[in-house]
Structure formats: structure tokens, C-alpha cells
């Protein structure tokens, strides 16, 4: 049972911070939710004794007991359906699906039930369900454990889709999601779990309807979310040394999309590169590009460019996987191309 409170330090501005990982921040969020609201429970494969396949719920079984930390059969369709049912009648379930690839066994439940019940019942029902799942590649787990399908889920009205990419969001999005009356999907990119940093020890719930500017800049807007945020920030820092000053927007929420934040930034910088670990065709990056065109077309000095995952299932061998994914270098190249072109 780890808590992110062991190494509290005082920063110069006197805010007390704790050193912790993304995984620990997520765990702290679950723990907080369990303490705050007796209707909250966690359910999924191996979340109890095993502590979750990515060790997010490690220790929670001992703390909260098997009634509230529930190991389920290998039955994604059944336990997501159960989450929907429990939410319909007043509970606040957190359902964990091991990875986004396995969520496809529950896609029928998510799309045909969770996302529709409010609307088709004329607002008589709502589904205050939170589904957490791991997404993304970079761990050499090949083509059935590595995809980034959050953009797909963002296609579906009735759902909210969150992609925490910072410790603050890992810590803060869950409670806000649980308070939301609608089904919320939280995508945790697997490469982020070990990301370590300082989190204010009073960190708590965060709002979930706005994008955030993670780096201010004047020359170009980089728009990304989730697992590619660290790569995008690194690209921006390296480009600063080439005198290209990028703004970096972290979408945070893919549905509803914060169009204002995107359009405002791009209107000012006049250039945009969208970075997306999903595939390019029909992707969230396509949606973001379209919104830029709809909202800032006359402000653009160059075409909107995209850096996405190659349109192949994720391969296993390291350099093949690397070649398929957005990388700092490919992001930098796209930015240079955009800046070099003057419409």
C-alpha cells in the first residue's frame, strides 16, 4: 500500500509537494473517491488481490475490502454491463478494463447502452459510470495490447472521454468524472504510469471541460493529448533552441472537445501541428484539424499538419514499434515544415 505522501517537501513558493508517479496519483484518486462516497466501488479483472494489471489498485483491497474492490470474471461485456446497471440505480461504479483493446468486447455495452440510455429514455435515466482503461503503445506488446482507440470513443455522443496526461489530471479527473451524471471514459496511456513528478499535497479534483496550455509560445500551436504530451513538450523545448517558439495545448478531454482553446491559440500563432497516437484516417486529429479549418481558416499561414501513428497494427520489434509511433523527431520535422511554408 503506497501513498504519495512519504517525501513531502516545501517548494520555494511554500506549497508542499509530494513526489509521486502517475500510477500513485491515480491510486490516490481512487482512494479519495472511495472515502468520499460510499456509493463508489471499483470492479474489474484482477483489480483486487493482484492490484490491477498495471498495479494501479495495489493495496486497495486490503483497505476497502472485497465488497468495494471487486475482482470479476473474465467477462468484459458482463462487468461493463453490470457497471451500467449499478449506475442506473444509484451506485457510482468505477469499472477498470485492462486495456482499450479488451474494451472492444464491451463496445456493445458502452455504445449501445451507456451512451444511449439517457437520450432514448427522454432523460429519465442517466448513467453515472466511470470506465478506466489503459491505452497506447511503446511497451512492445504488439497488435492486440497497444492501440489508441480513445479517438474512436470520442466519436460517440453520450460519452465523455478524458485523457489525463499529467500527475494533476491523473489525481484530479476521477472525482470530477464520478460527479458527472453521464458515462465518462478515462484513458490512461501505459507509458505514463511510471512518470514521476511533484504533486501539490493538497491536489484534488480538477475541472474536465477545458484544454490546457502546457507551454506558451507564439510561432505555432502543437495540439496533443495523453501519451504524446511528454514527447510534444520535449519537441517544443528542442525547437526553442532553433528559435521556433511553440505553444503546446493538451486537449485533456477529447469529448466534448474544447474548440475555443484550439481556435484561439491557432488564430494567434497562425500555424498548427496535431500530434495523435491514434491512426490518422478518421481520427481525433482529423476532427481537430477540421475544427481549425472551420474556426481559424483565414488566420492560417500554413496548412494544418498531423503527426499520427502509422496506419498499421502496432508491431512488436522495438524499432518497428518506434517507426510506427509519433516521435520527438517526427514532431520536430512537422513543425519545421509548417514554419517553412508560408501559405
Amino acid at each position: 500500500m503506497e501513498t504519495p505522501v512519504s517525501t513531502a517537501v516545501s517548494t520555494p513558493d511554500a506549497r508542499v509537494t509530494v513526489r509521486c508517479t502517475y500510477r500513485e496519483a491515480m491510486r490516490a484518486a481512487i482512494r479519495e473517491a472511495m472515502h468520499r462516497d460510499p456509493r463508489v466501488f471499483l470492479m474489474g479483472e484482477d483489480v483486487g488481490r493482484y492490484g490491477g494489471s498495471f498495479a494501479v489498485s495495489m493495496g486497495l483491497l486490503a483497505e476497502f475490502g472485497p465488497e468495494r474492490i471487486r475482482d470479476t470474471p473474465l467477462s468484459e461485456s458482463a462487468f461493463v454491463g453490470a457497471g451500467i446497471g449499478a449506475a442506473l440505480v444509484g451506485m457510482r461504479p468505477i469499472v477498470e478494463i485492462m486495456t482499450v483493446n479488451f474494451s472492444l468486447l464491451a463496445l456493445d455495452q458502452i455504445l449501445n447502452n451507456a451512451a444511449t440510455l439517457s437520450h432514448m429514455s427522454g432523460g429519465q435515466f442517466s448513467v453515472p459510470l466511470v470506465i478506466r482503461m489503459t491505452t497506447g503503445a511503446g511497451r512492445q506488446l504488439a497488435a492486440q495490447h497497444s492501440h489508441s482507440l480513445e479517438g474512436w470513443y470520442a466519436h460517440i455522443p453520450g460519452l465523455k472521454v478524458l485523457t489525463p496526461a499529467t500527475l494533476e489530471d491523473a489525481r484530479g479527473m476521477l472525482w470530477t468524472a464520478l460527479e458527472d451524471p453521464d458515462p465518462v471514459l478515462i484513458f490512461e496511456n501505459g507509458v505514463l504510469y511510471n512518470m514521476e513528478g511533484d504533486l501539490p499535497d493538497d491536489a484534488g479534483p480538477v475541472e474536465i471541460s477545458h484544454a490546457a496550455v502546457r507551454r506558451h509560445g507564439d510561432d505555432l500551436t502543437l495540439i496533443t493529448y495523453g501519451g504524446t504530451l511528454p514527447k510534444t513538450l520535449e519537441a517544443a523545448e528542442r525547437l526553442a533552441k532553433e528559435d521556433i517558439d511553440c505553444e503546446v495545448i493538451d486537449l485533456r478531454t477529447l469529448r466534448p472537445l474544447d474548440t475555443d482553446a484550439i481556435v484561439t491559440s491557432v488564430s494567434r500563432t497562425t500555424r498548427a501541428v496535431v500530434v495523435d497516437e491514434g491512426w490518422r484516417s478518421g481520427s481525433i486529429s482529423a476532427e481537430v484539424s477540421a475544427r481549425i479549418v472551420e474556426g481559424a481558416f483565414y488566420r492560417l499561414d500554413s496548412p494544418v499538419l498531423r503527426v499520427c501513428t502509422a496506419e498499421v497494427p502496432i508491431p512488436y520489434a522495438k524499432h518497428l514499434e518506434d517507426a510506427a509511433l509519433p516521435q520527438v523527431e517526427t514532431i520536430m520535422a512537422a513543425v519545421r515544415q509548417s514554419v517553412a511554408s508560408d501559405g
Binding site: 479483472e45 484482477d46 488481490r49 493482484y50 494489471s53 475482482d71 470479476t72 470474471p73 473474465l74 467477462s75 468484459e76 461485456s77 458482463a78 483493446n101 479488451f102 472492444l104 468486447l105 511497451r139 512492445q140 506488446l141 504488439a142 497488435a143 492486440q144 495490447h145 490518422r280 484516417s281 502509422a310 496506419e311 498499421v312 497494427p313 508491431p315 512488436y316 520489434a317 522495438k318 524499432h319 518497428l320 514499434e321 518506434d322 517507426a323 510506427a324
Partner: protein, 344 residues
């Protein structure tokens, strides 16, 4: 239920282990089980040393299931496999070097380095790329069976899956679909008691997966999955039935995985007593004891040495093999080359 004792009724020293299996054949079963055992142990070592990436699901303890069942198949028969496919692949005849190179992510691997440990397969020996979505094979296999039936071949397909998978809808849908059409399929459940950390008794009130056959009107059978001769015999029956159009059959093999579920599993969810109990049923030790009644110990030791040499060779081959080219990441998503930008 299979009569496990029957396999033991033939006199030691007669050169005959069961009605179907003589000592030479038994030695071959031993070699293949030993190959799987040592493959798993050696790749895990290299994994721990950082030489192999990703994750590994090992099958030590379960060798008798893979070998006993594949031994009852013809080269033209097919299998589907799971996230734990090394044993199935080696038992069905995937080339040892190609399997090893695949784990190393090399161009010479059976999937060209694109699939890795969880997706071993080779059409030339009748193995679909292993499907790592639990229950994924249980529906796909019905298509194999259907095709064999429509094409009027007498091929059989075996679907390997874990007891954990029997809670997925796909298990039930696949079994029923195959049943009503009498498809030539053997559903081979490797009941190793745990789905990852979760014991089967916690997720099923029916202790035996084979019982579920009743719900679909097919024959279910339980066999000692730690006894390769018993598995071979039960599989022989099941495969014969399937081939004759009297299938499908649900064959449950009671077994145990000696190692953790995947990398880094410290097995905190099961007791050391239980592990010791199952280790005492080690299928390789048991067969070796049976063979020792008719064969010289030297013959068995020689066989062990041959297995080790084959693994040395395969590991060396994998190490020396070239990596795929980075641009190979972009090939094979379609069987034909897609021109224009839309595929990338």
C-alpha cells in the same frame, strides 16, 4: 471421463506405454515436452536479463496438454492458440528457430518480428497466429471447422483456451455455434486453476469447465492434464469423433502453470503448498519415470542433451539474425500494396 488408470495398465517393460503409444513414440513425446519446458525456462532467463522485450506468458507444467493433443493431430489439422502460445507452437511443429527469432523480434521470426511472443503462428504447420484477446480463438475456430466441413476435407481444428476464457461470451457462442452444426472441432481447455490471479472457483460455481458442455449438447470430458499419455488418449478419441462428424467435443485438461502468469508475477495469490502439490505431478518427470522402465537412462539423458543443443542453436540463430528494416513496420497491413496516402 477418461480412464486415467487405463494408460497405466500395460506392463512396464513391454515397450508399450498405452495401446497407441510404444516406447519410441513415448520418447518423442518426452522430447517435445522437454523442448517446451527448456524453451520456456531459457527464454525467461533471457527475458530477465533484458535480452527479450515485451512480456512473456510461460507454460511450464502445461506441456502434456500441448504435446498430448497435438500428437493426436495430423499435420493438415489446425490449431488456434492464446496469449500463452509457445508450447502450442512447438507442439504443432512451428520451427524452433523461427519461434525463437520471433521472440527476439527478428526478421527471421515466424511473423517477421511483428507479432512477438503472444502471436506465434505458421500456416504451413496449421497454426493460426495466436490470438491474445482472451476467448478470441473460440469463435474464429468455428470458421475453420465450418470451412473444413464445406470443403469436405476431413481436417479437424483444435481451439486451445484457458478456464478463464470460459467466462467470456465468446466461449459460449463458439461452442454453441459449433455444436448445432456438428463442426469438426475440439475445444481444448487448459484448466490451470487461475486466470491471471483469479482462481476459477471465485468466478465459476461450476468447478469443471467440461460440465458446461451439457448446456450445449456436446460431449465434455475431463482428463489429467499432467499425464501426457492420458491426454494423448483422450485427444485421440475427441479428434476421431470430430473427424467423423460427431463433434465438437469439449476436452478439459486439469493442469497447472508452474511459473507466474506473465512477467513480474510474484504469484502472491496461491499457496506454496499448492505449488508443491502440483510440482509433484510434473508431467515430464512422470513420463520420464514411465520410460525409464523400458529405456536406458542414457537414452533419456541423450535426449535432454539434444534438446539443449537445439535450443543453443535456436538462441544463437535468433541473436545472429538481422532485425527487420524499420520500413517493414509499414508493410503487411494489407495483402496488397495500397497506393496513395490514405494507408499511411
Amino acid at each position: 471421463m477418461s480412464d486415467v488408470a487405463r494408460a497405466g495398465s500395460i506392463e512396464p517393460g513391454s515397450g508399450q506405454l498405452t495401446a497407441d503409444v510404444d516406447a519410441t513414440h513415448g520418447l518423442d513425446l518426452y522430447r517435445r515436452m522437454q523442448l517446451i519446458r527448456r524453451f520456456e525456462e531459457r527464454v525467461y532467463l533471457h527475458y530477465l536479463q533484458g535480452e527479450l522485450p515485451g512480456t512473456l506468458h510461460q507454460s511450464q507444467g502445461q506441456e502434456a496438454v500441448a504435446v498430448g493433443i497435438c500428437d493426436a493431430l495430423r499435420p493438415t489439422d489446425w490449431i488456434t492458440s492464446t496469449h500463452r502460445p509457445h508450447g502450442h507452437a512447438l507442439a504443432k511443429g512451428v520451427d524452433l528457430r523461427a519461434a525463437m527469432a520471433e521472440l527476439y523480434g527478428k526478421a527471421t521470426g515466424c511473423c517477421g518480428g511483428k507479432g512477438g511472443s503472444m502471436h506465434l503462428g505458421d500456416p504451413s504447420v496449421g497454426m493460426l497466429p495466436a490470438i491474445a484477446i482472451v476467448g478470441g480463438g473460440n469463435t474464429v475456430v468455428t470458421g475453420l471447422g465450418l470451412a473444413f466441413k464445406l470443403m469436405r476435407t476431413d481436417q479437424v481444428a483444435v481451439c486451445f483456451f484457458g478456464e478463464g476464457a470460459s467466462n467470456e461470451g465468446a466461449f459460449h457462442e463458439g461452442l454453441n455455434f459449433a455444436a448445432v452444426q456438428h463442426l469438426p472441432i475440439v475445444f481444448a481447455c487448459e484448466n490451470n486453476l487461475y486466470g491471471a490471479s483469479t482462481p476459477f472457483h471465485q468466478v465459476s460455481l461450476v468447478p469443471d469447465v467440461a460440465t458446461r458442455a451439457v448446456a450445449y449438447g456436446v460431449r465434455g470430458e475431463i482428463v489429467d492434464g499432467m499425464d501426457v499419455l492420458a491426454v494423448r488418449e483422450a485427444a485421440g478419441r475427441a479428434v476421431a469423433e470430430a473427424r467423423a462428424g460427431a463433434g465438437p467435443v469439449l476436452l478439459e485438461c486439469k493442469t497447472y502453470r508452474f511459473a507466474g502468469h506473465s512477467r513480474g508475477d510474484v504469484k502472491g495469490y496461491r499457496s506454496r503448498e499448492e505449488e508443491v502439490l502440483w510440482k509433484e505431478r510434473d508431467p515430464i518427470v512422470r513420463l520420464r519415470a514411465r520410460l525409464a522402465a523400458t529405456l536406458d537412462a542414457g537414452v533419456l539423458d541423450d535426449m535432454d542433451a539434444q534438446v539443449e543443443a537445439a535450443l543453443d542453436d535456436a538462441i544463437e540463430f535468433a541473436r545472429q539474425s538481422p532485425l527487420p528494416r524499420a520500413e517493414d513496420a509499414l508493410t503487411d497491413a494489407y495483402a496488397t500494396v495500397i497506393s496513395g496516402g490514405s494507408a499511411s
